[in-house]
């Protein structure tokens, strides 16, 4: 039951024919069959829509050629290996400016270093050593860093070694590589700020 009469058809026969032809070219003609009263036009696919479709297909072909076929792009594994070795080289270069005890003590009297170190310490170290630095003595996991006993040596460079290499057997991760040389020096400065300089 086609109840919805096409508006174009109500005019004169000739004009109707012309209109129908134009509409047919545009797909603006209703299909004969209806489903539960639902009618369907048969409009052309929009060009911009086709362009996105064909464009995505073209991209697929090109990208596959580039990445998988010609292997012009590095594999994800090769890319990350390369990037990590670049980073390692940069780190090795920067660690050449070696820190000694005197410099670290000097930093520990420098407010900029100490304040920056406190921030890093509270963010990274305090989970075990606590923000009070008293660690195990106040229920934490790490050593107390403000008393006078040093399990792994109390010289600034000893502390540096612990941070850089960790004490894996005791659960102290190697933080140096994670936070970097600058922040490591700052953290040491912050810890030393609780102690008397020699």
């Amino acid at each position: 039951m086609s109840t919805h009469t096409n508006a174009h058809a109500s005019h004169g026969a000739a004009r109707a024919a012309a209109a129908t032809a134009a509409a047919a070219a545009d797909g603006d003609v209703l299909r004969e069959h209806t489903f539960d009263g639902i009618q369907e036009y048969d409009k052309r696919l929009p060009n911009w829509w086709l362009a996105t479709f064909y464009g995505a297909i073209a991209f697929w072909i090109g990208y596959w050629f580039y990445v998988e076929q010609a292997q012009l792009a590095l594999s994800p594994q090769a890319a990350i290996e390369l990037e990590m070795s670049r980073i390692e080289a940069a780190k090795l270069a920067s660690s050449a400016s070696n820190l000694d005890d005197a410099t670290l003590w000097q930093m520990s009297r420098n407010a900029v270093f100490v304040n920056a170190g406190r921030e890093t310490f509270n963010s990274v170290c305090a989970s075990c050593h606590l923000t009070s630095l008293k660690g195990v003595d106040e229920g934490g996991i790490g050593h107390n860093l403000v008393d006078d006993t040093w399990a792994h040596g109390g010289n600034p460079t000893d502390i540096l070694a612990v941070i850089n290499n960790g004490v894996l057997a005791k659960g102290m991760p190697a933080w140096g590589p994670v936070i970097g040389a600058k922040k490591t020096a700052e953290v040491i400065a912050y810890i030393l700020s609780y102690h008397e300089a020699p």
Partner: protein, 780 residues
């Protein structure tokens, strides 16, 4: 030809039942959603109770929204529209009732088992194996009821909505069954038959296409019925229906690996996932165009009709989400957005915007027709619309900002790209807290809107009389010979169904393209040549034979069985090409680089506790091939390092940090304290506390059966007697307990926390295999 008039009364009772269930479960699912979102802001809402923790409730939320809310909505819409589109009553009242009550029983079973910690540990596939079987059976009941109705139809041709329903029923069955293949270890526990990378691929083939064929295709079918009905306008374009239907169902299946970009998944699968996702953009928008442009000439209804408002907003959100999906599938964008709230925002644009609003529009349209009474209050429906819309916008905007903020912070590096800008994960979590709160408000508003619908419906239904629709059809009573002759002219056998231009060309094109992609050398070249020839031939034939192809398709639409088989062939293709090579090739024997060391019995018990508590909802175990991931978590994860993981636990969200290499990073006592009270270690953490792990005993008795199944699956366990297993467990547990005592904390060896610590300390341990020649590592 003489005809007899026949009056058919539709089974609208079943539609009413499913509509009511949809409204109720929708409210429950959204309520749980608002609750778990609040838990992320206020950890105290976990109440230190096992069955109220985020890790167990989040699967309840996702399953409730997908299978209970949208599931019931889909069944209501499919049953209502199909009967009318084929002019036949549903084939069996018994099957309809079985379908309804079976499905509700499954939902109740899920709502009980998930909080109790019974889970398979795979997203949207958490339900345990006895429930899986029930789901499969009830789905078959649905299928039989539906196809039987089609067989008895009084409308010869199949309307586009029916195409989408057919695709839904067949594909969901395929996906569900394959991804739930498991071997039980007990009545309530099983291991999936795929592990590690294979499980990851199968899971996301399923997970992505559950979105496609459970949340999208049935709703598109519903749109194709209810939108022209409500707008009282013709559908925009029939040929667009054809093109976007076939391209959508075919391409969708291939896009699953976009959930695993930059992971240990083989590169060719990642490339396939990304490129096919981009090709999916246009087919998806075809559906949006056909929905929105159906309103041509009736846009004024947008001002007055709540139903049209919901449909137009819903379809617009569909368009937005299906643009965002391909965008997020680009590897570089995924590197930023994956594991963050951006993905959560993306799925909610779909679930709240598309599914929720289409459900609301459909229900507002159905209520007066199913109960023969005008809606209680149109203005209340309008308030629902604006409340819901505001809710979605707040939600999605919050999650976009949150995801991009956290992604930028996590990926941010300093000092020439050598150091992380925010080495502490918690800094990035606490930066997004205000946005996480805004999400709760948005979701809460959406829930309020839904409750308005429930209230409006309740007020309408009070005192209303249910009515069933009916139709009069004319059935041929011509002499049998004449009828048979006409039937024969309409019938399409298998040969014409497959042996014709469009189908053969498509099969050749896909076949050759597949050879090109997965083959190498001469095979690949053959694929290119074949594809080109097919393309040219197809183009030429389209011009010479195009008209006959149209006639063929019209005839195919009269034949439900060949049509359904063609649909199944096109949805099966992608999975076969991706899964079969992965299952055949990525086995322990073929692995290069590194191979995981199998878990000891105690570690396996700990792993099952990890799965039970749903840790994967917040923690990934996959360090991607990206500098920030490697700087933060250690060397990138290798394919072989999770090969014995049944199920895989790569995760899809990092509310907390990645755990792939957490083993050995902290001492045992760190983990003990952290699990008892995360904030004692990590200030500002939003992780729930797990005090019960220090109270409950590890289920050692289950281990012999579990290890037997794992051995069957290919994990290299020697022939262990139960006693050997128990001895092994005791020895390892005692050592851990002793270590804890020395660190000043005593926990008895038989407690669950000991097993969990054993598991966590194992993470990341693998054996280095002799590197093979690089050439053999070609592409696959």
């Amino acid at each position: 030809m003489s005809q007899q008039k026949l009056s058919i009364e539709y089974n609208d009772k079943i539609v009413r039942q499913f509509v009511l269930a949809c409204v109720i479960w929708g409210a429950v699912g959204m309520l749980v959603g608002v609750f778990v979102a609040s838990q992320l802001n206020f950890w105290r809402l976990n109440f230190d109770l096992p069955w109220l923790t985020f890790g167990r409730l989040r699967p309840l939320h996702t399953n409730a929204v997908i299978f209970a809310f949208v599931g019931n909505m889909m069944f209501a819409g499919v049953y209502y529209s199909t009967q009318r589109l084929v002019k036949a009553r549903l084939a069996s009242d018994f099957l309809s009732q079985l379908h309804f009550w079976g499905w509700q029983l499954i939902i109740v079973a899920a709502a009980i088992t998930l909080p109790l910690g019974f889970t398979r540990g795979k997203e949207y596939a958490e339900l345990i194996w006895p429930i899986n079987i029930a789901v499969a059976l009830i789905w078959v009941v649905f299928a039989v009821n539906f196809f039987w109705t089609l067989a008895r139809r009084n409308e010869k041709a199949l309307y586009v909505a029916i195409w989408f329903y057919i695709a839904t029923i067949l594909t969901v069955a395929m996906l569900y069954i394959v991804n739930h293949l498991s071997i039980p270890t007990s009545l309530l526990h099983s291991y999936p038959i795929f592990g590690g990378v294979q499980d990851a691929l199968v899971q996301w083939w399923y997970g992505h296409n559950a979105v496609a064929f459970f949340l999208t295709t049935p709703i598109l079918g519903i749109m194709y019925y209810f939108m022209p009905k409500a707008a009282e306008r013709p559908v925009y374009s029939y040929r667009l229906s054809i093109v976007h239907f076939w391209s959508l169902v075919f391409i969708y299946i291939w896009a699953g690996p976009h959930h695993l970009l930059n992971t240990a998944l083989p590169g060719w699968l990642q490339t396939m996932g990304m490129t096919f996702s981009l090709m999916l953009w246009a087919p998806s928008w075809g559906g949006m165009l056909n929905g929105l442009l159906t309103l041509r000439g009736a846009w004024h209804k947008l001002r007055t009709e709540p139903v049209i408002k919901f449909f137009v907003a819903g379809i617009t959100f569909y368009g937005m989400a299906t643009f965002e999906g391909p965008l997020l599938s680009i590897k570089a964008v995924s590197a930023l957005g994956h594991y963050t709230d951006w993905i959560i925002g993306h799925v909610h644009a779909g679930a709240l915007g598309w599914n929720g609003f289409m459900a609301a529009g459909m229900i507002y349209w159905l209520i007066p027709r199913l109960w023969d009474k005008p809606l209680h209050s149109t203005s209340l429906a309008n308030i629902h619309f604006w409340t819901g819309l505001l809710g979605i916008l707040l939600y999605v905007a919050a999650m976009w900002s949150s995801g991009i903020t956290q992604g930028l912070m996590l990926n941010g590096t300093t000092e020439g790209g050598t150091i992380l800008s925010y080495p502490n994960f918690l800094d990035t979590l606490n930066a997004i807290r205000p946005l996480m709160l805004m999400r709760v408000i948005g979701g809460g508003l959406y829930l309020v809107g839904w409750l308005l619908l429930a209230y409006n419906m309740w007020q309408t239904l009070r005192g209303a009389v249910p009515v069933n629709g009916s139709v009069e059809v004319y059935v041929d009573t011509a002499p049998a010979a004449a009828t048979a002759q006409q039937r024969a002219s309409e019938r399409m056998g298998w040969l014409p169904a497959f042996g014709n231009g469009p189908v053969l060309l498509s099969i050749f094109l896909v076949g050759f393209a597949t050879l090109w992609m997965v083959g190498s050398g001469i095979v690949s070249a053959l694929g290119i040549a074949g594809a080109l020839v097919t393309l040219v031939a197809g183009y030429a034939l389209l011009y010479s034979r195009g008209k006959s192809w149209q006639d063929w398709y019209e005839k195919l639409l009269l034949n439900a069985l060949p049509f359904s088989v063609l649909v199944f062939v096109s949805v099966a293709a992608g999975g076969l090409v991706q899964i079969i090579p992965t299952v055949l090739v990525n086995k322990p024997d073929n692995v290069e680089d590194r191979l995981q060391i199998a878990y000891t019995p105690l570690e396996l018990a700990g792993r099952d506790i990890y799965v039970r508590e749903g840790c994967y909802n917040c923690h990934s175990q996959m360090i991607r091939t990206m500098v920030p991931d490697v700087l933060r978590y250690g060397d990138y994860s290798r394919l072989g390092e999770s090969l014995y993981d049944y199920p895989f636990q790569w995760g899809s969200k990092r509310t907390g940090p990645d755990l792939a290499r957490v083993g050995g990073k902290y001492p045992d006592v760190w983990h003990l304290r952290h699990m008892e009270n995360p904030r004692s270690i990590s200030v500002g953490s939003n992780m729930p506390a797990y005090p019960w792990l220090s109270e409950n005993n590890t289920d050692v008795a289950a281990l012999p059966s579990k290890i037997n199944v794992q051995r069957m699956l290919g994990v290299p366990y020697g022939p262990l007697t139960p006693q050997q297993i128990f001895d092994d467990v005791n020895a390892q547990a005692k050592a851990i307990s002793k270590g804890l005592r020395e660190a000043g904390a005593y926990v008895a060896p038989e407690k669950e926390i000991i097993a969990l610590i054993a598991y966590l300390q194992k993470l990341g341990q693998s054996e280095q295999l002799t590197p093979r020649a690089v050439t053999t590592a070609a592409r696959h």
